[in-house]
């Protein structure tokens, strides 16, 4: 490469540089991991929504996706395993002006943190919850999760997973979430638009992002990185407002993507103010 080009390249700014703690790069995510794509879609949505970034926070739990809070150049909180949502609940109630985004993984949000998820949805806490679902516990080396497909191999289910996974949008819908969507990391444009919509919308919003974990999940299930992406392309179907009952993640059939719930009901804070505070 000629020296001049090299210099120019070095000075070229990443379009999301102002939102990234570049002093913390390189990140920990493996080659082929889907989290970075979901993370950059999230950053684009944050930036593109025209909202005050000074009042925007990210809260994460523990795990690979939980490291997102450590890379975003906003007020950011890397909390305990499974507890991102209740921490975010306190943050939002403490200062309702904040836009609070929870970015974490399937193990964190739906196994150890499952109880918090359903209750925050029930209360309609004004949070945007983004779950990168890579079907396993990546950080600890690929153990079975509450999202691991039946019979899939992980380090704790070497003979195949005897259990069945959650249908996350169904769980969110049943718990009372007012916005529910699912995309894969191949669908970055739709994903970004949905996150942007979720942030500006009041109430509990949930977006599931299917992302590959080639090192820990793909490798043990004879699924090469490109094959996972091919599944995302060929074995998915976009069906907005689909019945939440039809949203199981089973790539042997078609996996349904889209925007499934978009409704309005009073948020936790609106309800509290109306019910508990005396009129001025």
């Amino acid at each position: 490469m000629p020296a001049a080009t090299k210099t120019r390249a070095a000075h070229q700014n990443h379009p999301l540089e102002d939102l990234i703690r570049s002093d913390r790069i390189p990140h920990i995510w493996c080659p082929g991991c889907g989290i970075g794509t979901a993370f950059s879609a999230c950053l684009s949505a944050m930036k593109g929504g025209g909202r005050n970034l000074e009042k925007m926070c990210m809260v994460s739990g523990i795990g690979c996706s939980g490291r997102a809070a450590g890379y975003v150049k906003l007020d950011s909180f890397h909390t305990t395993h499974g507890r991102a949502i209740p921490f975010a609940t306190g943050l939002k109630l403490g200062n309702p002006e904040l836009d609070v985004i929870v970015f974490s993984g399937d193990g964190d949000l739906f196994a150890i943190g499952g109880n918090h998820f359903i209750h925050a949805a029930r209360r309609n806490m004004d949070l945007t919850v983004i779950c990168v679902n890579n079907l396993n516990y990546g950080m600890t080396g690929g153990q079975a999760a509450a999202t691991t497909p039946h019979l899939a191999k992980t380090t704790t289910t070497t003979a195949g997973n005897p259990e069945s996974p959650f249908n996350l949008p169904l769980l969110a819908w049943a718990s009372g979430a007012t916005y529910v969507a699912r995309w894969t990391i191949l669908h970055t444009r739709e994903l970004t638009e949905c996150i942007q919509k979720a942030i500006s919308k009041s109430g509990f919003s949930f977006i599931e992002v299917l992302g590959p974990c080639p090192i820990n999940y793909g490798r043990r299930n004879r699924e090469k990185p490109m094959e996972t992406l091919r599944l995302y392309q060929e074995q998915t179907i976009i069906r907005n407002n689909a019945d939440p009952m039809d949203l199981d993640v089973d790539f042997k059939k078609k996996v349904v993507l889209g925007e499934f719930v978009d409704k309005q009901r009073p948020t936790c804070i609106e309800s509290y103010d109306r019910t508990c505070r005396l009129p001025e």
Partner: protein, 370 residues
Amino acid sequence: MTGDEACAEGALAAGCLFFGGYPITPATEIAEHISARLPAVGGTFIQMEDEIAAMASVLGAAWAGKKSMTATSGPGFSLMMENIGLGICTETPCVLVNVQRGGPSTGLPTMGAQADMMQARWGSHGDYEIIALAPSSAQEIFYQTITAFNLSERYRTPVLIMTDEIIGHMSEKVIIPPADQIRTEWRPKPRGRKDRFLLYKPGPNGVAPMPAAGDGYKIHVTGLTHDEKGYPAMSVEAQQQMMERLKRKILDNRDDIIMVEEHQIEDAEIVIVSYGISSRTSMAAMQQARAMGIKAGFLRLITVWPFAEEKIQALAQRVKGFITVEINLGQIHLEVMRAAAGITPCHLVGHHGGTIISPDQVLAKIKEAF
């Protein structure tokens, strides 16, 4: 009012604007009382789905800039340990009240004990210093709740109030002074350039200023071992620096944090050491012993953690012995023994839990041992 209600009133007087709770006997009345009072002062109460979530929400509200608290009892205290650790590691001011009941496990939900004292000290994993206060009356829990908030703001750390079912449910006269006679403290706010701010760079008293989310500092807060900026730092050196700072900010300020009350210590040959509800037993026993011509004194620990070991060490040089009175089978007793270091005999008047210790039991031990 009851001790539990006085605690809630103390919190309001201290400027608490957030309570994240979960019902548990015998601490429920704190949540009930404050849930009715907070909305009118612009605060927020939320009943979370469990104590883990309650403690997490308290930390979140603290980072939103609010004084925040929760209250629980043994089983809930166990569940809160995880996020107490996060609060210590991230230096988050907040107050946690443990209205102790008999344990282990579900134990005696409606009956008092003082058996979580060591859990208060070391219950969360890892090495750390903690501040814990022990009130002995409804009036005192009112004031100690204010003190607990002040200490938590001054030292940017969770502060525990280790009370018990007996004080929590006991009705006593409580005088609430006018607001202008109550001193309330707030965490130091950062000054200077926001882009150069370091979240954990300590000020003169070992404590770093603390902005709130939304103040524009773009802070990163993590429970991982971190450097002064707050960034994760996975190294032996970073761990050493963080741990030393966490310990120093408490231990270097022991004189400010440790509060004790001395009764007839000057000429005492036998010193009763106690705290919380058992200090009322101890006071009566000391007075009865004096009436019988025994030179007894009483050292009341208002701050239980950090432990007043210098005080015990000094007394150990000249007294005949210590008697620790507490509703457990020997927790603070072990601390007294450690501080007395074999110089002076140490005795325990303990109890399995469920009721208070009577002064007679303390007198009997004085006669038996000395």
